[in-house]
């Protein structure tokens, strides 16, 4: 069995492959639901209604999607330049803790903001973005200087970042009012993202995330930096030959990617929880990678993929209450969807040949 390149790719092939991927995902996940002794159709109905079936469901899905859009963008831009940032989880926590740290620095003795609120808000956002960017800058410099594999360093930095945050939560940034729990002080209400709707958790962080997605799409497509970044990602050697500053481009990409992941952390702490705990993110940083891949590294696609993943998680929660299938089915659905999309994309460009090879040819 081997793959053979298709000579002509049909225009509507992506449509077929998309539908095929969805059907395949539903079928595989359906088998597991069936195995868990639940009615497949009603389980899917519960997931769908739990994700999109009511005002509450929709706002919850969008609340979930907010950090996922940002970590998805962080992965998408980095992967475009072939900078494999697996460290968005750590960058998210660093962004969140930096936002809280900045807020405590801006307080006076009376526990009031020492700065005008808009200025303090901007400073908090900048601190979070800078913290995420700084965390990714370390492995990127190691990569450009010493060719250290960034997959390993960014992945391992996640644990270092998490333990560092844990240290702060048990030390200088421990909330004395939290009765011993490792938890940071709560942000003053002036620094919180305002809610978009009454009686819902969805906040302005969503608008920020969507705005950044559009901005990123524009930058990638229409700017000199975007072209350099795509050139470096597609073929570093050719980019270097053309005179593109490869290392400088990678460093800029790292700063943007890390900042986006840091902003995801800011959004969570200032939009949802109000304080930092160690279980603030259920792996949003890692999910960002899945979302970026699902979206084909397209920033606009990331928004939709993040809503899909967020909706699946929220919907599966509702479904597990309704038909008693474990919520882990959400992970299965997301993972299967990713694999199905990747395979379907491959199949639009190649066909599988099962029999007798026509001889691997190629270069002389």
């Amino acid at each position: 069995m081997r793959l053979e390149s298709r000579t002509a790719v049909s225009r509507i092939a992506p449509l077929y492959s998309g539908i095929g991927a969805i059907l395949f995902t539903l079928a595989v996940s359906g088998l597991l639901i069936f195995w868990a002794n639940a009615d497949v159709l009603s389980a899917y109905k519960a997931i769908f209604e739990g994700a999109l079936g009511s005002r509450f469901a929709i706002t919850e899905t969008l609340t979930r999607a907010t950090p996922l859009i940002l970590t998805g963008l962080a992965a998408a831009i980095a992967f475009r330049a072939r900078l494999f940032n697996i460290g968005a989880e750590g960058q998210l926590y660093m962004g969140a803790i930096a936002a809280v740290a900045a807020s405590t620095l801006m307080m006076n003795e009376a526990n009031e903001l020492a700065l005008p609120a808009p200025m303090a808000f901007a400073a908090m956002i900048a601190a979070g973005a800078a913290a995420g960017a700084a965390l990714l800058l370390i492995p990127t410099l190691l990569k450009t200087r010493f060719k250290v594999d960034e997959v390993v360093t960014t992945l391992l930095l996640n644990f270092i970042a998490l333990l560092f945050v844990s240290l702060l939560l048990d030390g200088p940034l421990k909330d004395p009012a939290a009765m011993g729990w490792p938890q940071s002080p709560t942000l003053p209400s002036e620094l919180e993202f305002s809610k978009l709707l009454d009686r819902a958790r969805v906040h302005t962080g969503l608008l920020m995330a969507i705005g950044l997605a559009i901005l990123l799409w524009f930058v990638i497509r229409f700017t000199r930096f975007g072209l350099a970044m795509r050139a470096v990602g597609a073929n570093e050697q050719a980019a270097r030959f053309a005179g593109v500053g490869v290392n400088f481009t990678l460093i800029k990409v790292a700063l943007i990617s890390g900042a986006l992941a840091g902003l995801a952390g800011v959004g969570e702490v200032a939009g949802r929880t109000g304080y930092v705990t160690l279980d603030m993110s259920p792996g949003y940083g890692y999910s960002g990678i899945v979302i970026a891949m699902l979206a084909g590294l397209n920033p606009i696609g990331v928004v939709f993929a993040a809503v899909f993943v967020g909706g699946t998680i929220v919907g599966a929660d509702a479904m597990s209450r309704a038909v008693n299938v474990p919520t882990y089915i959400a992970d299965v659905i997301v993972a299967t969807a990713l694999l199905a999309v990747l395979v379907a994309g491959l199949l639009t460009r190649y066909r599988v040949v099962w029999r007798n090879p026509k001889v691997p040819g190629g270069s002389r």
Partner: protein, 514 residues
């Protein structure tokens, strides 16, 4: 009985005929030398022999039995063994482990190291290949690693050994030792195919010689009847005009001041065996100077230095009397047109669109961007102009450039450089692998650029091209550049000998071209 018979082997890759009706035989106890330039079809033939490719027609028999096509395991089972130019050893394993690797069935629970060791020892003794079986391969010298490769093949029962450029990695002393080993192998009844382009070695070791050129077998005969110059001529081709008659005339507006002055450049390639030593050359406006040589002698490295992608250890480069920084963007800004050897992977970014590739080296230019924003309409207009002026055939400039044929990519890359009226053009293998039409188009453009007053440095392994275009030719061999002499001074023989590293009255004697 013949050990190996190849009859009427033909293999095409698209338009290219890699092997054209090749028939060869190898006797028991014989060393057959297989000569040919790069791209002559040697590797294709060996790949067919080992079942990596299937020939379009023809058959192979080993010791009288027909070899099934496309089956590498059958080839090894019948007694074929290959020693590759680049070793295929695991550095972190011992010699014995490397030799045993892959010979034992994975369903067996126990390895019989003692047995294997005894067998390895007896082979080593019989063929005079001393080796410490417990030594880590990492710790061995290159010549010893090669011995391990030979032992590996023998351990697998090889009776026909194929050595691909075996001396290219060896010191002269190691080579002498290798030759002694080969003589002993042959005395023990093995047959050897020795692939090389070094004429001395071929004459020293082989019984018979076969020469391939452009996929055809152009010479076959006993080594005794061959001479160095007859082999060089066969390898390079008789039908090349060796005088300057075919060159485009009427340029020669050669000024005295050099456009490009390369002074004592030394560099070390990523491949440790390739380096440059004190390379100097002066290029004047309006002339085409060609650097000829067998691939792997440092020409690509020199090209990379001049392209600004490889930093030299020593030496410097002057452009129009001014020192120039050797980095890609500085070269572009200084008006150097650069045409790289690998147009698909170095010259262009395959996944970017045609127009993005057309502007990529000059994207910071005010024509193509403003305050960081691309002027995509201007860029598209510019690309359309290039496409029509340089006759690039394509359906849309929005498509990724990898969809274009090699010839069309090359025309676009040449166009994007030449349309900037460069003072210096550095072209590495500009017509490699292109069809006749594209080749003549590119030759014409280069001649015309020289006639307009550009200095052209042509780095090429294609001697037809070198003779057709160059005003002066210099030969590169083992990282040293010979003197650039007017084309009329060279004959095919003298050029071929210089390329093979033979000192002659023309080249190699003194190394410093002014």
């Amino acid at each position: 009985m013949n050990a190996l018979t190849l009859s009427h082997i033909s293999k095409r890759f698209g338009e290219l005929v890699a092997n054209d009706d090749i028939s060869l035989s190898l006797d028991k106890g014989e060393v057959l030398a297989l000569l040919g330039e790069n791209g002559a079809g040697k590797s294709t033939l060996m790949n067919i022999l080992f079942g990596h490719y299937v020939a379009d027609s023809g058959s192979i028999s080993v010791f009288g039995d027909v070899l099934p096509p496309g089956d590498p395991r059958a080839a090894i089972a019948r007694g074929l063994g290959m020693v590759h130019q680049h070793f295929t050893l695991a550095d972190n394993l011992s010699v014995l482990d490397n030799v045993m690797l892959g010979t034992e069935s994975i369903t067996r629970m126990r390895t019989s190291r003692a047995e294997a060791l005894a067998r390895l020892r007896s082979l080593a003794e019989r063929f005079g290949l001393q080796i410490n079986a417990d030594a880590l391969v990492r710790s061995l010298a290159v010549g010893e690693k090669q011995r391990v490769e030979i032992l590996k093949a023998l351990y697998r029962g090889a009776r026909i050994l194929i050595l691909d450029e075996p001396t290219s990695v060896l010191t002269p002393q190691e080579a002498t030792q290798l030759f002694a080993t080969l003589r002993q192998l042959v005395a023990e009844g093995l047959s050897i195919i020795f692939i090389s382009h070094k004429l001395d070695e071929v004459l020293a070791i082989s019984h018979r010689v076969a020469v391939l050129r452009s996929g055809k077998l152009v010479f076959e005969g006993p080594t005794q009847s061959a001479t160095k110059s007859s082999l060089a001529r066969a390898m390079i081709g008789r039908d090349v005009e060796s005088s300057g008659e075919s060159r485009a005339d009427g340029r020669r507006a050669i000024s005295e001041k050099p456009t490009l002055l390369i002074e004592k450049i030394s560099a070390q390639g990523e491949d440790a065996r390739i380096s440059l030593h004190d390379v100097s050359l002066a290029l004047r406006a309006g002339e085409i100077v060609a650097i000829a040589g067998v691939s792997g002698n440092g020409q690509s490295l020199l090209a990379d230095v001049l392209f600004g992608v490889e930093r030299p250890i020593a030496g410097h480069v002057q452009l129009n009397g001014e020192p120039v920084a050797l980095n890609a963007s500085a070269m572009v800004k200084a008006g150097v047109a650069r045409v790289p050897e690998d147009r698909q992977h170095v010259g262009s970014v395959g996944d970017l669109s045609v127009w993005e590739n057309a502007i990529l080296p000059r994207v910071s230019d005010a024509r193509f961007s403003n305050m960081g924003l691309l002027k995509s309409n201007a860029a598209r207009g510019y690309t359309r102009e290039l496409v029509s002026k340089f006759d690039v055939r394509l359906s849309s400039i929005e498509h990724p450039i990898r969809k274009l044929s090699g010839g069309n990519i090359q025309k676009l890359l040449l166009g994007r450089e030449l349309s900037e009226s460069p003072t210096l053009i550095v072209a590495a293998q500009p017509t490699w692998g292109l069809d006749v039409g594209a080749v003549s188009f590119i030759h014409e453009e280069l001649s015309r650029a020289a006639a307009r007053g550009a200095a052209v440095l042509l780095i090429s392994e294609d001697l037809d091209e070198v003779f057709a275009l160059a005003d002066r030719i210099a030969v590169m061999s083992r990282g040293r550049l010979g003197k650039a002499l007017p084309t009329g001074h060279w004959t095919l023989e003298s050029l071929g000998l210089a390329m093979a590293g033979e000192p002659s009255e023309h080249a190699g004697a003194d190394n410093h071209a002014a």
